[in-house]
Amino acid sequence: MSHSTSFFTRPRFMLRRKWGHHDEREARYGTKPSAESNSSETPNSFFRGSWRTSTSWAPFSQVYNGASTSSMVPGNEACQYDQQDTGHFPSSDPSIPEATTPHWPPSHPHQRQTACSPIDSNFWHFVDRVIFTREEVRGRAPLIKLVDGIRSERYLINCYGQTQIDKLLAPIDTKADYIHLPRGLSGRPLVKWVSMSEFRGMCASLTPIPSPSAVSMGFRKGVLAESSSPVAGYAFSPKRHRGEGYSHDQSAAPRALVEGGDPSTCFRESHSTPLPPPSIAAGINMDKQKLLEHLQQISDEYLADDGATTAALEAEARVEGVLGGFGGARDPLRHALAAVEETLRKHSAARREAGGKDWRDRAAEIEARMVKDVKEEMVRARMSSLAPAEVKEVHHVLRQGKATDVVARGFNVDMRRQDLQTCNPGTWLNDEVINFFMSLLKERDDSFCAAAAARGVERRKNWFFNSFFMSKLLDDNNGYKYANVRRWSRKAGDLFSYDKVFFPVNIRNTHWCLAVIYMQEKKIQYFDSLVGTGREYLVALRQYIADEHQDKKKSALDISDWELVSSDRQVVPQQGNGADCGCFASAFAYLLSEDLPINYISQADMPAFRQRLVYSIVKKALTWNGEDA
C-alpha cells in the first residue's frame, strides 16, 4: 500500500513505556525520519498498519453521514454497490492521482488489516503513540480548546497537571519535523487521551489552519450542526489533510447531515470496516440509475418515520429535477446534489422541530458521552503503571534493608518495610497500608478543596476514617456499639457537612471492603470486590449516622429516606484472586474520592496499583506519571 504521509510511527516494541525521541530510531535503523521516509521499504511501514482494528475510526462527517444512516437502514445497497463498483472511496478531486488512495474495501485479508481509509493514512495515526508533523500540529491548540470547551479547565488540569497544560498551550516550533507531544498522563499521547469519539469530531471539524476560537466556539454552539463538515466525497479527499494550499468552496459544501443519525451510532467504536456514507456526494461516480436509487434512499431515510407526504413529494421532485440535468459536468452536479441535500436537511429539521429532539439535546447527550470518555481516561491515568524508574524505586524499597526499618513516616504512623511488603504481589495488605493510603487521600482531598477555593469554586470535603472504625463500631464480640466511636469524629468536626465519608472495612481479619456514606445524597454504599453485599455494615452505618446526629446535633435524624446500596457483583469490579481485595478497596476510595467511576478498573490493573500504593506511600504523595495530583 502506498502512503503519502509525512509522519512516522514508532515500532511497538520501542514504544511500550515511554515516548522516546526519534533519534533512537535513527540510531537503530540508520535512517533519519523525514516526511519522505514512509515508503513501504522502511521498517516503519510495517508497523504503521498495526493500529488497525482497535483504533479504527471514521471521521466525524463519515460517522454522521454514513455510519449512522447506514446503520439505520439495513441493506444499504446503493452504498455497498458503490464500494464494489469504484473500488475505493470516490474522490471528489480528480487532480489527486488514484495511486494515493488506498484501495477500499481491501480485497485481501492481509490488506484489510493494514489498510486504512484515505483520510487515516494522511492524517492522524493511532498506534501507541503519535508523532505529529508540523501540519498536524496545527490542530493541536484547537484540540485543547475543544476539550476545554467540553469541560472546565479543572478537568484538564486534573488530568494533565498544570505544567502539562502550560506546555501544550506554549507556542509550537513549527520548524521542527516532528513534535513530541507531552505524554498524556496515561502514558499515551495527548490525542489518545482525547477520546476516540471526540477525536472523530475534531478531525471532521478541523480544517487546515483553523481558527482555534472558531473550533472551540463551534463545538460550544454545536459543532455538529454548524461546523463546515463537508460532503463526504470532499471529506475523503486526502488532499484536505495535507494542510497546504487547500481551499474549498464553502457554498458548494452543504452542511453535514448532522441531524440524520442517532447519536449513539455516532460514537460506536466501529470494529468493522467503515462504510462510506450514503451521502449524495458519493453518488458522483454512479451512473444515473444508481444515483436515482441512491437519492431516493436518502430521501426515504429523511422522511421515513413521519411519512410526511408533502415533504416527501417535494424532495422527490427535487431529485427528479436533478436527474433531469444529469449528464453535465461534475461541479454543477455537485452543486445540485448539495441543494437537494440541503432541502432534505431542512425538511428533516422542520420535522424535528415539530416534535423531535433539538440539536441542543443531542449536543448535551454527546457532551455527556464525551465527559464519560474523559472520565475513563482519567481513571486510566490514575490506574496506569509507574514509570520504570519509579518501579525500580519501589523494588528497592521493598527488597533492600531490614524488615523493621521505617521507610515512610507520617500521619502519626511509622511505616515499616514489613508493612509495605504486604504490597508485594499476592500478599494480603495490612491496615497500615490501607490507613496510610486513606490519609494520603485525605491530604489530596484537602488540596483539591484548596485549589477549588482558589478558583472560587465550592467543593465539599471528604472524610476518611481508618479501618479500625468499623471494627470498633461493629465489634465481632459486642455487636453494634456507638459508644466505642463516639469521640472518633472529633477531628472531622461536623460529619454531615462532608460530601462523602469513607470507611475501609476489615472483615474478620481476612477481607477488605469499602463503605461510603454520601452525606449529601443521603446514600450509603458498600463496595465489595468479592461477592459480599455488606448489608450488616450498611445497617450499622445508618444507625451510626443517626446516633451521631443525636449525639452531636442533639436532634433525631430521620433515617427512613437514607438509601442503602449493597455491593452488587455485576456493578462493582470483582477481584480475580484471593489477595487483591485491599487493592480494590483502596482503588475504589482513590477513584470515588475524585468522583470518578469505578467500573473501568479490573483485576488487570492491580499489579500496577500495588506498586502505586508503595510508591505513593514512600513519596507521601499521590502522583501519576510524575505529575503531581
Binding site: D414, R416, N430, F468, K472, N477, K491, N509, G578, C581
Partner: protein
C-alpha cells in the same frame, strides 16, 4: 490476646471494669522529678478488656505500649494504639496528647485482608 466470653462483656461496662488490672509504668525520672503529675490511662482492647496504666504526663507513650505488649505477650509492632480514632505516636507524651486522668486509649491488633 485473651479471648473472653462475648456475653460476659456485652452487657455493660461495669462488668468490664472487673477485668481491669492495674499497672504502673516506672520511669527513669522518678527520682529527679518526684512531683511530676501522674495520670491513669485505660487501655481498652477489642474485646472490651481494660488495662490501667499509671503514667507521668512526661512519659513517652512508647513505654506504655511496650509494657502493654509485654503483659499481653504480643509484638508491639502488631498493636495499634488509638486516641479518639487517631494513631498515637511512640514518642508522644500524655501531656502532648492532652490526656487526662481516666482517659481511654484503644488498642487494636494488626488487620489483614485479601480474599
Amino acid at each position: 490476646m485473651k479471648k473472653t466470653n462475648p456475653l460476659y462483656h456485652s452487657s455493660s461496662s461495669t462488668l468490664a471494669n472487673q477485668a481491669r488490672t492495674m499497672a504502673t509504668v516506672k520511669t527513669d525520672t522518678t527520682a529527679t522529678e518526684p512531683k511530676s503529675e501522674s495520670i491513669t490511662l485505660r487501655v481498652k482492647d477489642q474485646t472490651g478488656e481494660e488495662t490501667m496504666f499509671k503514667v507521668k504526663k512526661t512519659t513517652k507513650m512508647e513505654k506504655v505500649f511496650a509494657s502493654y505488649a509485654g503483659r499481653k505477650g504480643v509484638n508491639v509492632d502488631s498493636l495499634r494504639f488509638l486516641l479518639d480514632g487517631q494513631r498515637i505516636e511512640k514518642h508522644q507524651t500524655s501531656a502532648e496528647l492532652e490526656l487526662e486522668d481516666e482517659d481511654q486509649i484503644d488498642v487494636m491488633l494488626e488487620q489483614l485482608g485479601g480474599c
